[in-house]
Symmetry: C2
Subunit: 202 residues, 2 copies
Amino acid sequence: MESLAALTDRQKDVYEFIRHLIRHRGYGPTVREIGEAFQIRSPNGVVCHLKALERKGLITREANRSRAIQLVAEPLSRLALPLAGRIAAGALHEAIEQDERIDLGEMFDTSDDDLFALEVSGDSMIEDQIADGDYVIVRRQKTARKGQIVVALTDENEATLKRWFPEKNRIRLEPANSSMKPIFVKNAKILGVVVGVVRKVA
Amino acid sequence: MESLAALTDRQKDVYEFIRHLIRHRGYGPTVREIGEAFQIRSPNGVVCHLKALERKGLITREANRSRAIQLVAEPLSRLALPLAGRIAAGALHEAIEQDERIDLGEMFDTSDDDLFALEVSGDSMIEDQIADGDYVIVRRQKTARKGQIVVALTDENEATLKRWFPEKNRIRLEPANSSMKPIFVKNAKILGVVVGVVRKVA
DNA sequence: CTCGATTATGGACAATTGTACAATATACGC
DNA sequence: GCGTATATTGTACAATTGTCCATAATCGAG
């Protein structure tokens, strides 16, 4: 909104070049590599651009290290998509021009080793809008608050996706499907709590 | 399943170290940086590990370039989560040990500039399991097949999320909510087609 | 007009860094 | 026991690479 707008065309090109390399090649360019790509004959010419980008907050660099350009704007996620605004909001076009971004890597912190995904089988949670074939993002933890959607392991060593309701002497595992009945078990182990849902639409 | 399993503990550690740096710091390590982290005093000691990782297909390197380590297993995405298997599948524990991964960056190719996200407002698509507050992932395109979920701009310049049904002289935009009626318009512009849904569960 | 920011050239230096070669030790399967 | 893969040390070299200095043209703002 501000930082990006303040860039000159040249700087924007350089930034895009760096970003493209990190994204597609997996590692960033050297100062001279950038120079080559833009016909800048002197390393110092490139350094000027890098300093400008750093000053404007788009990148970070670490002194004396090769290829040590860090993207600040989309720091650790590649799954940052431009967010176009709310659908009901009418003037969608304008919203798209903004550069708000939804960063799924931030939503579901991938560096968090306690997250895992699980493909959903069946319609037991359909009324919570979790359908067959969806992936639920689960945080590994052993406890849950009443009513949370959990992945639980019942006595019979069966894993299920249900809402979690502890009662006096038993646990009620309730599906979100009015045609199905809750399951009551004495013991159930929580494997994790659902923190997200991801679906690929055909 | 094969590649990761074939790794020695040491190699796995080195791989994780590289991956961690690329993920969290934004750029990979030098040969000597790896050596330092693992008390390997000679650059060559590290190179051996890198060669092993390359041979086993986990990384790629480019000759004579600094920090030029490319991760092959999760090439361009940071949103790769371990996939624990299908929930109904019973023996979930074992499934978690596998190293299948769901790669959201692959599911929704972030390098694709024609993708954007949109926050959903309202319950008009609730029967397609798209709820208020969800984010739909949309591919910018101007046409759609009959029945696809599209983001459309109607005559009144209002953006809506509906199923797309072209008819003879008009277009039917159908909500997935039996309490709502389809909208009929003469002209509607398709802004994009829904390719995914992402939800954050509180 | 002058000042600052932008965008460059050219050359030089020193540190970083990948690679190569020569050895060694351990573990494992045959 | 012997060969192969793993894991490591040590040294050396040459190329890569970041940084710095001096210099300068262009352009918009004050």
